[in-house]
């Protein structure tokens, strides 16, 4: 076994970023104030769909402390609408035009209609009540299937229908080739001895972060806009701000605060409100701040997963999958969301639908509808929560049809040769799904559970086991990323060493709690042989960092950390040159070791110099350096993925369902994950623990509910229910059956994004397994006790009658 470097790769190092936060010295967005700042609050539409006939702001303008009241009409000629190139390129679908405030009509309950700027937020809220808007209600478009019907009223009036995106995932096949492919899928399904046909429905839910959004902008005639913003992607915000305000990029600086209270995709988009805040700062020549309320957050941001799958899945007599057909429909809401437009998620989800399985023939069709709801937004898992639920459930049902343990069916159909390419064109670089899966199977002891299950049933108790898997592509190549997001995927880091040997690493992402200060420090510690406490990480400031796509899709471990390693390795070359030159010798990099704060010549351990001394030698004593070298110790590195970095998770859920109340209790939950080389087990386990709990919370509790008139009924944390400590179990996490990732220099895989996706399948399968004696299959989410009780009750009554 490899020896652990103190605080280096593999160490369970407590996080560096914790201490200030624990002392109450975190620096979150709301902790930043600028003297003289004004406060914005938004008046939001009470209607799902209505024409704005008039807005009377005169009374509001007269109230104490009110500086300005702004409407859509006032800004439509002052700033450009989205889409603009930074958030409009790439994605092959429609992009509705929108301004930060509604123009002419409102398209969802909660859309900003007017903004008050006042001396205090209390006074701003007072003034909201004095704005009078006359609306003419329009028909609510709220059902995705009805919305796609040609007769539906239109959400965007300049469109001829409500279809924002569609795809048949034909990859690189020509139209003719694809027609043949589909024909073959159809034939195989028709001829297969075992076929499951089922509709699966995932509800609108997501991961609302505990810290809401916010923006604070300052205008300065020389430097332009400086905007602090809660964002996972500061550089993208900068590009879009520059575009809508018609400023050169050099006049826009965006800063994501050092500490951010969670993102999970919700802080990864270009939203209306910060664009307006920046505009107002310039317009009013005063600092302007907006601190989102939870109500606004639950109404306008963070809604995801709203999807229908009509699946047909077929296997041959030997239990090998032969073909898959899936008609996917997604409710994108109004689609007015810079970056993903409500459909990048289902698009990616469709591409990733075949998951870990050999499925040579897939007929997958996706149609995404716009409706009068808040735009669908990225949420941890980026589009794969719904497809994983649908396919993993279908596999479970198929196994039952064949008459085998579901685990056996999965194991028989895993992709085993890499690199692999799915029929949708998506590539997997490496992995060993069987090994990781077998570890899970070993941990759960299926035969023993079946014995207990039988025994329990004889006592009238319903217990079940569900297994599911999920492949996540974290850190993809530039081309794929450009297609999906309109930007490249590479990671850039700038590393510099001061004359005491302290290392600072700067990069342009906006971390939101992933522990990147610690893992980056650990990689530096490992590579340079220094104490991780001697590493400082800077992020989030577009002025001091180069372009970076952002803290998204598990890129930290799979892209940023490899870039850090590359930078360290290049830096070491220079240090070695200096050491060798000073000793008047010729030596290669590999002849020196970097450990415990020293650089030591392997051929003679007397030639040993401390890292700190060398840092001073090169940064300050910068004379007599090797020919061609200059003073200073700093290095930039860029890491580009050649193929998608893949991570893999296998989950097992054990449940008991009460026939008295329909309540589901999770009695055990185990995961086996391939996170590649683990930099910090504490952090990897933390990501999985948290990700699985979020999945459980989505599955049972959370739901954004719109009533028949399109009123959003879940805009408080009492009505939008997030799991509390007593509602969830402890997750047993194993990552000892992973495989190093060959496509990056560290062997890492990004586990944070994908670890949520197997959850709905595992839980759905477990509950269905428990209730198999009653013939109940879980097909719709969320699973709530009341409806489940009724289904059980009906089945039990039928049983008694029979």
């Amino acid at each position: 076994m490899k020896e652990l470097h103190a605080g280096g790769i593999g160490a369970r190092l407590p996080r560096k970023e914790d201490i200030p936060i624990l002392r109450g010295e975190g620096r979150y967005f709301a902790d930043i104030s600028i003297a003289g700042q004004l406060h914005v609050m938004f008046l939001r539409s009470p209607h799902a769909h209505a024409r704005i006939l008039s807005i009377d702001v005169s009374a509001a303008e007269e109230l104490p402390g009110v500086v300005a009241v702004i409407t859509g009409e006032m800004i439509r000629n002052e700033m450009l609408p989205l889409p603009q190139p930074s958030v409009g390129g790439g994605l092959p679908g429609r992009k509705p035009k929108f301004w930060p405030l509604a123009v002419e009509k409102v398209k969802f309950h909660g859309e900003p209609v007017a903004a008050v700027v006042a001396e205090t937020p209390y006074l701003a809220e007072d003034a909201l009540e004095a704005i009078f808007v006359e609306y003419e209600p329009l028909p609510y478009v709220g059902d995705m299937e009805a919305a796609l019907d040609p007769s539906s009223p239109r959400v965007h009036e300049d469109w001829n229908d409500n279809e924002i995106f569609k795809s048949n995932f034909r990859a690189t096949r020509s139209a003719d080739e694809h027609a043949a492919h589909i024909e073959e899928a159809k034939r195989r399904i028709a001829e297969a001895p075992f076929v499951v046909r089922q509709r699966f429905r995932t509800h609108r839910c997501g991961i609302t972060a505990l810290e809401p959004r916010g923006a604070l902008a300052v205008w300065d005639a020389t430097e332009g806009i400086t905007a602090w913003m809660t964002t996972q992607r500061p550089h993208l915000q900068r590009l879009s701000l520059a575009e809508v305000l018609k400023l050169p990029q050099a006049k826009v600086r965006v800063i994501a605060p050092r500490d951010q209270g969670g993102g999970f995709g919700m802080k990864g988009s270009v939203y209306r409100e910060p664009l307006l805040v920046a505009y107002l700062a310039r317009h009013l020549r005063r600092p302007v701040r907006w601190l989102e309320t939870r109500e606004e957050n639950l109404m306008a941001a963070g809604q995801g997963r709203d999807q229908i799958h009509d699946i047909e899945l077929a296997a041959d007599a030997n239990g090998r999958l032969v073909a898959l057909r899936d008609k996917i429909q997604t409710d994108a809401g109004d689609g007015c969301l810079g970056g993903t437009w409500g459909y990048a998620m289902p698009m990616v989800g469709g591409m990733r639908l075949p998951n870990a399985y050999i499925l040579p023939f897939c007929d997958i069709q996706l149609r995404v509808a716009v409706t009068n709801k808040a735009s669908l937004c990225p949420a941890r898992g980026f589009g794969i929560f719904a497809p994983r639920f649908a396919l993993e459930r279908a596999l479970d049902m198929l196994a039952r049809k064949i008459g085998v343990e579901p685990a056996e069916l999965l194991r028989k159909n895993f992709i085993t040769t890499f690199p692999a390419r799915l029929s949708t064109g998506l590539g997997y670089s490496s992995g060993d799904f069987v090994k990781t899966f077998d570890r899970l199977v070993e941990l759960v002891d299926i035969p023993e559970f079946r014995r207990r299950q039988k025994e329990a049933l004889s006592l009238g108790r319903y217990i079940g086991l569900g297994i599911s898997t999920g492949v996540e592509v974290s850190g993809v190549d530039n081309l794929s990323y450009l297609t999906a997001t309109g930007g490249p995927s590479y990671a850039t880091v700038d590393l510099r060493v001061d004359s005491e040997g302290h290392v600072t690493v700067a990069y342009g992402d906006g971390p939101t709690g992933q522990g990147s200060q610690t893992t980056i420090a650990q990689v530096v510690a490992e590579e340079l042989g220094i104490d991780p406490q001697n590493v400082t990480v800077l992020s989030g400031d577009t002025l001091t960092t180069t372009y970076s796509p952002g803290t998204v899709s598990g890129r930290g471990a799979s892209m940023v950390l490899p870039a850090v390693a590359l930078a360290c390795r290049d830096l070491k070359k220079k240090i070695v040159r200096v050491v060798a030159n000073d000793a008047s010798m010729v030596a290669g990099d590999e002849e020196f070791s970097f450990a415990d704060g020293y650089i030591t010549y392997c051929g003679n351990s007397n030639l040993r110099r401390s890292f700190a001394e060398l840092a001073h030698r090169i940064v300050i004593g910068a004379v007599d350096l090797p020919p061609g070298d200059t003073g200073g110790l700093e290095q930039r590195a860029v890491f580009e993925a050649t193929r998608g970095n893949v991570c893999f998770s296998a989950h097992a859920a054990f449940v008991e369902v009460s026939p008295e109340t329909g309540r589901v209790k999770i009695t055990r939950y185990v995961t086996s994950d391939d996170a590649g080389v683990v930099i910090n087990p504490l952090i990897v386990e933390g990501q999985i623990q948290g990700g699985v709990i979020q999945g459980i919370s989505n599955f049972f509790f959370e739901e954004y509910v719109y009533n028949d008139e399109g009123q959003q009924m879940t805009s408080t944390l009492e009505s939008y229910k997030i799991a509390k400590a007593s509602d969830v179990p402890r997750i047993e996490i194993y990552h000892d059956a992973g495989t190093p990732n060959p496509t990056n220099p560290l062997g890492t895989r990004g586990i944070g994004e994908g670890c949520i996706a197997p959850v709905p399948g595992a839980l759905g399968n477990a509950i269905s397994d428990a209730l198999r004696p009653l013939g109940i299959e879980i097909t719709d989410l969320p699973v709530r006790p009341g409806p489940l009780f009724h289904r059980m009750d009906v089945a039990l009554r039928d049983d008694q009658q029979a």
Partner: protein, 161 residues
């Protein structure tokens, strides 16, 4: 509509003239400048990120007016450490990786300290029940429970010795 108050926070008396309607959490954050106490909901008081101690009891500072705390004493997360010496629960949170984004953390520390100080027989179930007023979105609770229990057990052990 303004009124004068004197509220003692972490041992320091803050005398201010404030609007009656000012929430305690805004007094703490903007009048006293102690930004470790966070806000995570609108009016419902359901997230617990703003939890502080009022006369020794954990309460939500967004569901109390500052004026109601005139003459009373408050402890916030900034008051847990004694100088450079962290409270044992702060250390335990670090060691058990009980925080990710950290936004819920100050509230959970205040609830956790309240639990530890008032119940000498804590177990996992009691701790989970005790922190239901604090939502954590990242960590999935188990590490938080472990951190609180580790401090509670160390206390029990100390008392036995």
């Amino acid at each position: 509509m303004n009124t004068s108050v004197s509220i003692t926070i972490n041992g320091i008396a803050y005398e201010r003239s404030i609007p009656i309607r000012m929430l305690l959490v805004d007094f703490i954050r903007y009048e006293a400048g102690l930004t470790g106490t966070h806000v995570g909901c609108t009016f419902e008081g359901a997230c617990g990120a703003c939890t502080v101690h009022l006369d020794g009891d954990a309460i939500k500072s967004c569901l109390v007016l500052a004026v109601q705390c005139d003459g009373r004493w408050i402890t916030t997360v900034e008051g847990l450490a004694e100088g450079s010496e962290l409270h044992p629960l702060q250390i335990a949170f670090n060691e058990h990786h009980a925080l990710q984004c950290g936004y819920c953390t100050s509230g959970l520390l205040m609830t956790g300290v309240d639990l530890i100080e008032k119940d000498s027989e804590l177990n996992e179930e009691k701790v989970r029940h005790g922190i239901t007023g604090n939502l954590c979105r990242c960590a999935g609770y188990s590490n938080i429970v472990d951190a609180i229990l580790s401090v509670a057990r160390a206390r029990t052990h100390e008392e036995e010795v």
